[in-house]
């Protein structure tokens, strides 16, 4: 089993990319990553393409096959990977396994989603297809409403308030201002989104107690990375980044079936496996890109990943520890909240961001300590989680 390195990373703008179709976006991200990897004439041995909704939203399937054609990467092996919102990290995992196994050397992993060509209601309905068809979907349940139910219990159990959630939103939107790729470039403040009586409209309830600014936007975009064996990496990039470990775990399909609905078991298991493989503990993590599709998840994941004790995530937030200049920055990219969430792209975008951070290439959003980082990609509603530890 070989060690795997990331030698290139690239992404498109995240946002409403009205003039670009899915394959176009994914091709652009791929070329950026290939350029960043200084590949030159080195051929790509395999392609893993992450996407969740093209079959439903864009009436197109076989995304990886379309991509290798437009990029003239034929006859490279190519697979499309679907794991809901964790498609991106699952595709990275597939790429890592491909290289580590010794069967493939240079692998392109690219994730993309085109969601803004349909109305918000249809996009919401599409994401809801990952719920159980007759025990959940038929009720009109949505991911936000599942998160709302989870948030209510988490608040009751750990004393988290709407103010804590607003702090996460404010922090991540502030970080997003420093990220040229981010979907949302907008500074928000506590008065505007919570304390003012006008907040009832500015920040209306989406799924009580979650509000508009507690939810990530619907976004178009693509992100890509180039993987290769660590012992071949130096030739392409002196400051390559290592995949130190990864972990994946699953949990019950229906939210109701969870023994303890506030326990994100899959997050804990996935992170523990990643730490073990990397030979570290949670204490060694210096920065993290977590899956804040809903602000509550940043707090909950930070605890379940062992970065803070259960019930202490909010305290860390209050103390400014997770701010970009804090001692354990979370989501320096702006997270899903501000960078946006093209479902299939997010997992790869997290890895791309972590790559830039560890290299020291993140510009104005560069965090101070950046040797070892954690990414968590949260599929379903926490029933399929993929985590990575990246290091210098």
């Amino acid at each position: 089993m070989r060690d795997v390195a990331i030698i290139g990373a690239g992404m498109t703008d995240f946002g409403r990319l009205a003039d670009d179709d899915l394959i176009d976006m994914m091709a652009s991200a791929s070329l950026r990553a290939m350029k960043d990897a200084n590949l030159g004439d080195t051929p790509i041995d395999a392609v893993y393409a992450a996407n969740m909704g093209a079959g439903i939203l864009n009436r197109q399937t076989g995304i990886a096959s379309a991509l290798v054609d437009t990029l003239s990467l034929l006859p490279a092996p190519a697979d499309t990977i679907e794991n809901g919102p964790a498609s991106g990290a699952s595709a990275v995992k597939a790429g890592v396994l491909a290289v580590a196994s010794g069967y493939y050397d240079f692998v392109l992993v690219v994730g993309g989603e085109k969601m803004r060509n349909v109305t918000g209601w249809r996009a919401t309905d599409f994401v809801a297809t990952l719920t159980h068809p007759y025990a959940e979907y038929i009720y009109g349940v949505t991911l936000p409403s599942m998160a709302g139910m989870f948030t209510r219990l988490y608040m009751e159990k750990y004393g988290i308030t709407e103010e804590h959630l607003a702090m996460v939103a404010i922090k991540n939107q502030e970080n997003g201002l420093l990220n040229p790729y981010a979907h949302i470039h907008m500074k928000i403040d506590m008065e505007g989104i919570l304390h003012s009586p006008d907040a009832i409209v500015n920040n209306s309830y989406v799924a009580k107690p979650l509000r508009l600014f507690d939810c990530c936007p619907v976004t178009d975009g693509a992100a890509a990375v180039i993987l290769c064996p660590a012992d071949m990496a130096k030739k392409y990039r002196k400051n390559f980044v290592r995949i130190a470990g990864f972990g994946q775990a699953t949990d019950t399909h229906t939210f109701a079936e969870r023994d303890n609905p506030t326990d994100l078991k899959a997050v804990t298991l996935a992170c523990d496996k990643a730490y073990k493989m990397a030979g570290i503990t949670a204490k060694d993590i210096q920065l993290a890109e977590l899956h804040d599709a809903f602000t509550i998840l940043e707090i909950a994941e930070s605890e379940h990943a062992g970065l803070f004790k259960k019930g202490e995530g909010a305290k860390a937030l209050e103390a400014g520890i997770t701010k970009i200049n804090g001692s354990l920055p979370i989501n320096p990219s702006g997270g899903l909240k501000s960078r946006g969430h093209p479902v299939g792209a997010t997992g790869v975008a997290q890895i791309a961001e972590m790559t830039w951070q560890i290299r020291g290439d993140a510009g104005p959003r560069q965090v101070k300590k950046h040797d070892i980082g954690l990414t968590v990609n949260f599929g379903g509603f926490g029933n399929n989680v993929v985590a990575f530890v990246l290091r210098k």
Binding site: W121, D125, Y139, G140, T142, P144, G148, M149, R152, K208
Partner: protein, 116 residues
Amino acid sequence: MGKKMPDAYKCKQCGRVTYPKRVRCLNCKSTEFDAMPFSEYGNVVTFTQSYQLPWGIDEPYLTLGVIKFDNGVKTMGRISPPEISTGAKVKASWEKMRVIDGEDVYGWMFSPVNNG
């Protein structure tokens, strides 16, 4: 789901109750289950008022929740009043929820019990 009220399932080997049906028991992996009726009452585990509903639903909002039936089975469903609290006692009924692709679709509706 059609008009007929569904059953919950009890594992023949270890007695774990579950809904919806699984091929293998989540506890002991047995593939043998006994059909078990849902009880009439339950308690609210959690809920939310959902204001942004998916395509196909025209209501301004719905109250959705997870309910634990008296016999231990847990399921998601709709709650009839907009306001409820966690732990509240509710009565279950099997009702038409919506129309999908021209067909009536049924599901659980929960209403609070007055002296709950």
